[in-house]
């Protein structure tokens, strides 16, 4: 009897938990539900909580058949992928160096990295705009990738460093004795061992760059180069009361992030807590 009671209490908690999570994430549901109505039906009183019938018109007209939306999605994909690659290329060796080697400025660099994460983005966007104007990087993919990497690189190094610390030093020494060389030991021995760290950092760099707004708003001056976040903000004014269309664009803009989050949840949750707090 006592067991049954405990089980019931445990699942009672689960039920309450499910209710809390559902209520909390209602805005996400409401975004999707609105996107599946017609632009007129979103104003019915009382609002339809479960849209019926499901209408996919907004996705067809305002996403698939809208060149500016498609273009902005492509832009975001290029910028986020570029940021991911550049962050790993710069961040992995740096984290390895800071973990493995005796470098004089480790403490200083770590402090700089931590402070860098706490900067308001506008603090970089303003001078970067002026500097990039002088060297032709405004309104280019490269400029946007460089700026986004500046946001991602600090947490990449902070998250990756502890992973490299777990690689046994003897292993690295053995690899070097076997003629691997310094870089070979890093690339062939250490990198494969820290794959979970690389996945975490890659996912976070992509997610951050995909959702980034301030650089997109300031450094992409033409609509042709704007990421989907900036496009979405522009549509708020353009679409007026076509909320179903706007929610369809918002849903598509959030889709890659949601998929990555669903697939790599464990990595992302760990990365968020480590990146923000570990010193």
């Amino acid at each position: 009897m006592a067991e049954v009671k405990t089980v019931r209490r445990r699942y009672g908690k689960t039920l309450i938990g499910v209710l809390i999570v559902s209520a909390y994430l209602f805005p996400v549901y409401w975004m999707i539900a609105t996107s599946l109505k017609t632009n007129g039906d979103v104003f019915t009183i009382p609002p339809e909580i479960f849209p019926s019938p499901l209408v996919f018109g907004s996705y067809v007209e305002s996403v698939l058949h809208s060149p500016p939306v498609i273009r902005s999605l492509v832009n975001s994909m290029v910028i986020a992928t570029g940021t991911l690659v550049l962050t790993l290329v710069l961040g992995a060796p740096a984290a390895y160096g800071l973990a493995r080697l005796r470098l004089r400025f480790t403490v200083l660099l770590t402090l700089v990295l931590l402070l860098a994460q706490m900067l308001p983005t506008i603090n970089l966007a303003l001078p970067l705009f002026v500097i990039f104007s002088g060297v032709g990087l405004v309104d280019t993919y490269l400029g946007l990738i460089l700026a986004n990497t500046a946001l991602a690189l600090p947490f990449a190094i902070i998250i990756l460093r502890p992973f490299f610390l777990t690689v046994p030093g003897e292993l690295m020494d053995a690899a070097r004795v076997d003629g691997c060389g310094r870089f070979g030991a890093f690339a062939r021995i250490a990198l494969p061992l820290v794959r979970p760290g690389l996945v975490t950092v890659g996912a976070l760099a992509f997610v951050t760059a995909w959702g980034e707004f301030v650089f997109g708003l300031t450094l992409a001056t033409s609509e042709q180069m704007q990421p989907v976040t900036v496009a979405l903000n522009r549509f708020i004014g353009q679409y007026g009361t076509r909320w179903a269309d706007l929610m369809a664009v918002a849903t598509v803009a959030a889709l890659p992030i949601t998929l990555i989050f669903a697939g790599l949840q464990r990595f992302i949750v760990n990365g968020i807590t480590t990146g923000a707090t570990k010193e």
Partner: protein
């Protein structure tokens, strides 16, 4: 869940100094140089794309750079005149004040809600780990998307929030939340709380899980009830973590731009014109780059001071 084990000082000692084993100074130096090659690209990148721009920004704030002269680079040096002018403008103080109200309100509510959620999800029950993680979706979501969705939910006409509040009898007439100053500020705070609370919850959970179950067992044997256990065990033991969490959420909320910009663009009027939006407008709407640089310099000073406070608090927490 990550445990917070490293401090800046500790990291230094992690690299145990090994005796110099390489023969000859030049070989040692060459090998040293190769060691630095791993870190050099990242350091060069950070220097070029963060440190240099921040220095540039400071320099910008001491010149008079505007649309007319920013490409020619021939802007006159004016010293601290821009600062004097900014400090004399009521808009500056207004946006600084709004920033503090917005940040203070947001972190207070997200702390209370986040703490309640952390207490609930601290218990292990089937699915608790997954649920905690799923809540973080609100934090990972692109903030422009969150801002857009909340903007829709808060619409005076067709907004779900009005419907619910009217149905529950809290409102008689629909409220145009984002069109009136005081409700607009409330609205952006609510949205920010929604975004940051899961993050606060996860950080507080780490603190709660650091409390040894044996302490609870001991006081339970002494006959402490649930409230007493919370009041005399949980609260005091979670307090050092709470301080660092509050400081950290201050730092991250103070620099918010996206969802406020998307929801109100600083308006109506200047009711939600937080400092980052004020700086953005100066530089990118009015092309007064130097005045924008003054505002961002003030932002960075506050951020750095709070960050140093955070480092200090988290080291004290480690020591405790």
């Amino acid at each position: 869940m990550s445990t917070r084990t490293h401090t800046v000082a500790q990291q230094n000692t992690e690299q145990a100094p090994s005796p110099e084993s390489l023969p000859g100074r030049s070989r040692a130096r060459a090998s040293r140089f190769r060691d630095y090659m791993f870190v050099l690209p990242a350091v060069a990148f950070i220097t070029l794309l963060m440190i240099y721009p921040l220095g540039y920004n400071l320099n910008l704030s001491l010149h008079d750079t505007n649309l007319g002269n920013f490409l020619t680079g021939s802007s006159p040096f004016v010293g601290l005149q821009n600062y004097a002018e900014a400090f004399g403008e009521s808009e500056f103080w207004h946006s600084l004040g709004i920033s503090f109200v917005y940040t203070g309100g947001s972190i207070a509510f997200s702390f209370v809600v986040g703490f309640a959620l952390a207490l609930f999800f601290d218990k292990t029950f089937p699915g608790s780990g997954t649920m905690r993680a799923v809540l973080l979706l609100a934090y990972v979501f692109p903030s422009v998307v969150s801002g857009t969705v909340w903007r829709w939910m808060l619409q005076g006409e067709g907004g779900i929030i009005n419907s619910v509040l009217q149905r529950l009898g809290f409102l008689r007439e629909p409220v145009f939340w984002l069109i009136q100053g005081d409700t607009a500020l409330m609205s952006v705070i609510v949205t920010t709380v929604w975004v940051t609370t899961p993050f606060v919850m996860i950080l507080l959970l780490a603190g709660l899980q650091g409390i040894s179950p044996s302490i609870y067992e001991a006081v339970q044997l002494d006959g402490a009830n649930a409230w007493q256990r919370f009041r005399y065990v949980t609260l005091p033991l979670v307090r050092p973590v709470a301080l660092t969490v509050l400081l950290l959420s201050f730092i991250f909320t103070f620099k918010t731009f996206d969802n406020v910009f998307v929801m109100t663009r600083g308006g109506p009027g200047d009711a939600t014109n937080i400092m980052p939006i004020y700086a953005y407008d100066l530089a990118f709407t009015f092309f007064r780059f130097s005045d924008g640089a003054v505002a961002t310099t003030v932002l960075i000073v506050i951020s750095v001071v709070m960050s140093l406070a955070y480092f200090w608090a988290s080291r004290r927490e480690e020591a405790a």
